[in-house]
């Protein structure tokens, strides 16, 4: 058993806690730095630009948007992708609450479903047009991934959707949603934390969020110091990991460790 394994087994907990604490402090330092800067220095992700573009187009032409929040639960990071979708939902409604065809949001999990309804309702409250509020615009369309895909399929086919925004946790069934969108001739923008779904989405749309990109949604959809700071923190540890792998790997190859 080599030194690294020894470390790995004996002090794993302490190492983990140390890592989390360092992550925390790096995040705060990044936040301070980001706040001093005049704008966020982050690369452009075309999918997010395309997303904004398609939303603007749909809003302008008065067509209906469908926002699918996936079947991830609020209690896991699978919900993280749904939360990215939720943050989008309220903005969509602020833009379209007076439209004849307000966006429709579907989710595959109880809490996310309720949060989506909360969000929609709050917009109507904000602008005092509660009579326009349709509770069915935020709906749970299935309670496990497969029925969710099936139920959402019908929403896409029924609601004369012009743009499909798939932002949540899916399985390979995401292909059926994208296909239903194509049958109805609508644009699909996809982002999922499930990597299989990403691979399937790859053949359907170029407007796809890959791997880690979905977790960056906060910084792109609604730029804020902490969101941008967390991206810089990820970068910091990304390079840390690369350095550790290269140096330790070289030492191993040289037989030092």
């Amino acid at each position: 058993m080599n030194y690294l394994d020894y470390l790995y087994i004996v002090d794993r907990g302490i190492q983990g806690l140390g890592f989390v604490l360092i992550f925390f402090f790096v995040m705060i330092i990044s936040a301070i730095i980001v706040r001093r800067r005049d704008k966020p220095f982050i690369r452009e992700i075309p999918t997010y630009s395309k997303l904004k573009q398609s939303i603007s187009l749909a809003v302008e032409s008065g067509q209906r948007l469908h926002l699918s929040l996936g079947s991830g639960g609020i209690n896991s990071m699978q919900g993280g992708s749904a939360l990215a979708g939720l943050s989008l939902l309220k903005r969509l409604y602020r833009m379209t609450y007076l439209s004849d065809r307000p966006p429709v949001a579907t989710s595959g999990e109880g809490t996310i479903g309720i949060l989506s309804r909360d969000s929609i309702r709050s917009v109507y409250e904000e602008v005092g047009v509660m009579e326009e509020y349709e509770p069915t615009t935020g709906q749970v369309s299935g309670l496990t991934p497969e029925p969710y895909i099936a139920g959402t399929l019908l929403v896409i086919l029924d609601q004369h959707v012009s743009t499909n925004i798939l932002m949540g946790n899916y399985n390979s069934g995401i292909a059926l949603l994208a296909d239903a969108g194509e049958r109805r001739g609508c644009l699909t923008v996809a982002g999922s934390d499930n990597i299989t779904a990403q691979a399937v989405g790859y053949v359907f749309t170029e407007d796809l969020l890959v791997g880690e990109e979905l977790f960056a949604s906060g910084a792109y959809i609604q730029p804020s110091t902490m969101h941008v700071a967390s991206l810089h923190t990820q970068d910091f540890f990304r390079w840390g990991i690369v350095a550790v792998i290269l140096v330790a790997g070289a030492l191993k190859l040289a037989g030092v460790m």
Partner: protein, 233 residues
């Protein structure tokens, strides 16, 4: 075996199963009423299952049973859970929705901590170690395949891991108000990362294709056998 050898329930099941298969497959030809019917049944039945499983596995043993026949402490705990659950239920009703937030916050807090811990100890540390140990020379000699091949494979895996990691790099610089862009050399490594991502996605897509083809073949052979069964004396 002929259709007459089946008991009524099995026969009904086979007919139902065959019918539903055809109805769903009819979606290939296009959307239709029967397809919608089947999908709604599917969603309803699964929701029913979810409700019953939750009752049998959680609500009954964790809340109902302790409340009825549990010790003082057990009763207290299940009562506490019951109260928290009722707050959660309020989320379903817009007027009372706010009462559910503390419970949702609790779930989010616990869930977040769990996945952070898992990501650190379950993926980050072991996978970084795995990447380092690719070059464990003594280990390489223990394996059957030639060492040079193992080392070259290790290099490919390492290059893949690192280039894909760098592909996701978010930081960028913008010169004089132009679009923020990554340094040229990072973009070059990212390009290589994209090659590995395309390959990984390709393998994943092929996997999805093979898996779904298994389902297709199973449904087709089932239908064929059922039809043969009908015409068998």
């Amino acid at each position: 075996m002929s259709v007459f050898d089946l008991n009524n329930l099995d026969l009904l099941g086979a007919i139902l199963s065959f019918g539903l298969t055809l109805i769903i497959l009819s979606f290939i030809f296009g959307d239709n009423l029967l397809f919608r019917f089947a999908i709604h049944v599917f969603v309803g039945v699964t929701a029913g299952y979810v409700a019953v499983m939750t009752w049998y596995n959680v609500l009954l043993p964790e809340i109902v049973v302790p409340l009825i026949g549990g010790s003082q402490a057990e009763r207290f705990y299940s009562l506490l859970v019951l109260v928290l659950s009722s707050f959660l239920f309020m989320k379903a009703f817009p007027r009372l929705s706010g009462w559910g937030n503390p419970v949702v916050a609790y779930l989010v807090g616990v869930g977040t901590a769990t996945v952070i811990g898992g990501a650190v100890l379950g993926t980050l540390f072991p996978q970084v170690l795995a990447s380092i140990n690719l070059f464990d020379i003594p280990g390489l000699f223990e394996k059957s395949s030639p060492v040079w091949m193992q080392i070259s494979n290790a290099v490919v895996i390492l290059v893949g891991t690192i280039s894909v990691l760098i592909f996701f790099h978010f930081g960028a610089r913008s010169n004089h108000g132009s679009h923020p862009e990554r340094a040229a050399w990072i973009s070059a490594v990212a390009w290589m990362g994209q090659i590995f991502i395309s390959i990984t996605f390709g393998v994943l897509f092929a996997g999805v294709y093979i898996a779904s083809m298994t389902a297709f073949a199973e449904r087709m052979t089932f239908s064929a056998n059922f039809i043969l069964l009908l015409f068998r004396p």
